[in-house]
């Protein structure tokens, strides 16, 4: 059965060195660290060394549109763009009614823009997820009759993504909405993970996503199933043909026949798609063939079966025989058998073949097999080229092209604004939380309780400042804080400098330092001292002070206030904080 997230996480410590290396980038608009773990861990299960670049939180735009971004430097073979329905919903709610009615089109235009921008710079395959459904219950069932409703726009977006993938050869869909339909929302979403870790997927879903994305990668890389081998008694029909006779087996409307009829219908569709069907059964051949030739309710007939093997030899020998006739690898074969004992023998003798562990109750066969996604494929050549072109023309209508030649243009276009405030009763809980939880962009990693922060805010020898950030896409809230300690009349020490990793690479550091320098200058300080205390997790700020122009001084970093020149930043202040201090 499906592996647990914890199992996949433990794989991370194992030896990948003999595996094929594949470079993949994950760009996500929610917290993706565990998804990263699950994906790499799942790779171990299928013999792939997935070399993953995980972009910082919510940086899809930046990574795609900035030609100098880490994404392009990494040059992955695959880019998985993971977007959440939770973010989609918030975006939708920001629009007025006409905007909401055109929302899916806008999402799709943007997605197309991602794909075009990436395609112009990389040969990578792009994997997009469909959005799992959220019914926000704003319109009730009337959402169906309301084009501006979220439910309608969500479904339209999902359909549009599939259409986009049909047009663009390098775009593939990881059908998360389809997974949601199979496993249910309770498995997809865990409110606890969402509230506490900003993760829109439950731990139990992560292995399923990892498998799904890996299935796509494997199929593109040429590893996919070509052949389905069926056992007969209690797999292709109910009962035992040798004992029950042709009239006694369950198929069609007889007994539990529905189960086997539906399984056969599925196999027939697979055959139509190009999967080779074979039979491997312990039976006398004439008796085993009889239903295929004469039973009125059988879906599969002899001409559907490429190789029909029914005898009293072992199944292992018979499967080897089938392989030799078809001249395909064992790893492209699936063997269905209701008997756990036979399955185990085949699995042991032929490790490369896929042998699903069918549920004990045949009634569960169909849903179980569907969930396994055994027959992933990267191509199917019956496309309606004419229709494809129509869709392409439709997508080009009113396209607001959004592509940036450099980072500065991109940052400038964001229209970033920051509210700079001394700690107050509203910000204290969040400030304390940031000091407790931030590990990466945290220069000294000093943890403060709410009580501590309250004391700091009323202590004249400290200045605590919180900073927010908003841009034209939304409000990130309180994302940075500094605590300045007045060491003496001329020296200001940066006790704490923390920034949420959500807003990395926005130039927020420059803006923050300008703020510090303004404060220092306005209050007669001539020196600002910074310190970096290394931890296992804060390596990203190792060169923080050096890159901001501080000079080394006795293991610390020093900035001369008089010589400070304001650093370039695309963030503008929403308020004037220090005017009151200086007056």
């Amino acid at each position: 059965m499906m592996l647990s997230f914890n199992h996949l996480k433990k794989n991370l410590k194992k030896d990948f060195s003999s595996f094929k290396k594949i470079k993949i980038a994950i760009l996500s608009d929610s917290a993706s660290q565990l998804l990263n773990n699950a994906l790499r861990g799942y790779g171990y299960e299928v013999g792939l060394d997935l070399d993953i670049y995980e972009a910082d939180y919510n940086q899809i735009d930046l990574q795609v549109f900035d030609p100098t971004s880490e994404l392009y430097a990494f040059a992955p073979e695959y880019i998985y763009i993971d977007r959440s329905t939770q973010k989609l919903l918030k975006e939708h709610y920001k629009h007025d009614t006409p905007g909401q009615a055109a929302f899916a089109d806008e999402v799709l235009k943007k997605t197309k823009n991602y794909c075009d921008t990436i395609a112009a710079r990389l040969k990578a395959k792009i994997i997009l997820n469909t959005y799992p459904e959220i019914n926000d219950s704003v319109f009730g069932n009337y959402a169906a009759k309301t084009p501006s409703s979220f439910v309608y726009q969500l479904r339209k977006a999902n359909l549009g993504l599939m259409e986009l993938a049909q047009r663009e050869k390098n775009v593939f869909i990881s059908d998360l909405a389809g997974i949601q339909a199979q496993v249910g929302q309770r498995t997809v979403f865990d409110p606890k993970m969402y509230v506490n870790a900003d993760m829109v997927y439950s731990l139990d879903l992560l292995p399923l996503i990892a498998k799904n994305v890996t299935d796509i990668i494997l199929s593109i890389a040429g590893s996919f199933k070509k052949c389905l081998i069926l056992d007969l008694d209690n797999t292709t029909w109910g009962g035992i043909i040798g004992d029950d006779g042709m009239e006694g087996i369950q198929i069609g409307y007889f007994g539990a026949g529905k189960i086997y009829t539906e399984l056969q219908l599925w196999a027939k569709q697979l055959k139509k798609r190009g999967i080779i069907l074979c039979v491997c059964s312990k039976n006398t051949e004439e008796i085993a063939r009889e239903p295929f030739e004469k039973h009125p309710d059988m879906v599969l007939r002899m001409d559907d079966i490429a190789v029909f093997v029914a005898n009293w030899e072992t199944k292992v020998d018979n499967i080897r025989h089938i392989k030799n006739i078809l001249n395909i690898g064992f790893d492209s074969m699936v063997f269905l058998d209701d008997n756990p004992f036979e399955r185990e023998i085949v699995r042991t003798a032929i490790p490369d073949i896929t042998v699903p562990e069918l549920p004990e109750d045949p009634a569960e066969y169909q849903s179980y097999l569907r969930q396994l996604n055994l027959f992933e494929t990267a191509s199917f050549t019956e496309e309606d080229e004419q229709r494809t072109r129509q869709y392409q023309e439709e997508a080009q209508r009113n396209v607001l092209q959004q592509s940036f030649e450099n980072e500065a243009d991109f940052l400038a276009s964001l229209d970033m604004r920051s509210a700079v405030k001394e700690f107050d009763t509203f910000s204290i809980p969040r400030v304390s939380q940031l000091t407790q939880r931030s590990n990466q962009f945290n220069l000294r990693t000093i943890r403060y309780t709410e009580e501590d922060i309250k004391n700091i805010s009323s202590d004249d020898s400290f200045m605590g400042v919180s900073l927010t950030l908003e841009d034209r896409f939304g409000d990130h809230g309180l994302i940075a804080l500094i605590i300045l300690k007045k060491q003496d009349a001329t020296t200001l020490f940066i006790d704490t400098w923390i920034m949420s990793c959500r807003v990395l690479k926005r130039g927020m550091e420059n803006f923050t330092l300008n703020t510090i320098a303004d404060y220092a200058a306005a209050n007669g300080f001539t020196k600002v001292i910074g310190e970096y205390i290394p931890t296992k997790k804060n390596g990203i700020v190792k060169d923080h002070y050096a890159s901001l122009g501080f000079l080394p001084a006795d293991g610390l970093w020093q900035l001369d206030v008089a010589e400070y020149k304001k650093r370039d930043t695309f963030v503008t202040a929403k308020n004037e904080l220090w005017t009151s201090t200086t007056s």
Partner: protein, 81 residues
């Protein structure tokens, strides 16, 4: 189930989730005492504990425990129903 039994089972969950055989929890153990017990792992621990004991905690509880003892008392209380 008594408190000692609970903390023993919680200890096993910690060993499994954090993949560290050396973990020995006491009621006074805090996140600072255990390597890798950060906020992201905390939520994974909570999910594993919920699954193991077949219970669900509130967000307030999850963020409120000051040490392992408080966490185990919460489990104990829920088991008592």
């Amino acid at each position: 189930m008594d408190f000692n039994n609970i903390i023993k089972q919680v200890n096993d969950i910690f060993i499994d989730v954090l993949d560290n055989e050396d973990i020995k929890l006491t009621p006074e153990t805090t996140a600072a005492d255990v390597e890798d017990w950060d906020s992201l792992n905390h939520i994974q621990l909570v999910v594993a504990i919920e699954k193991h004991f077949k219970m669900r905690f509130t967000t307030a509880e999850i963020n409120g425990w000051k040490n392992v003892g408080e966490m185990c008392v919460a489990i104990e209380n829920r088991l008592k129903g």
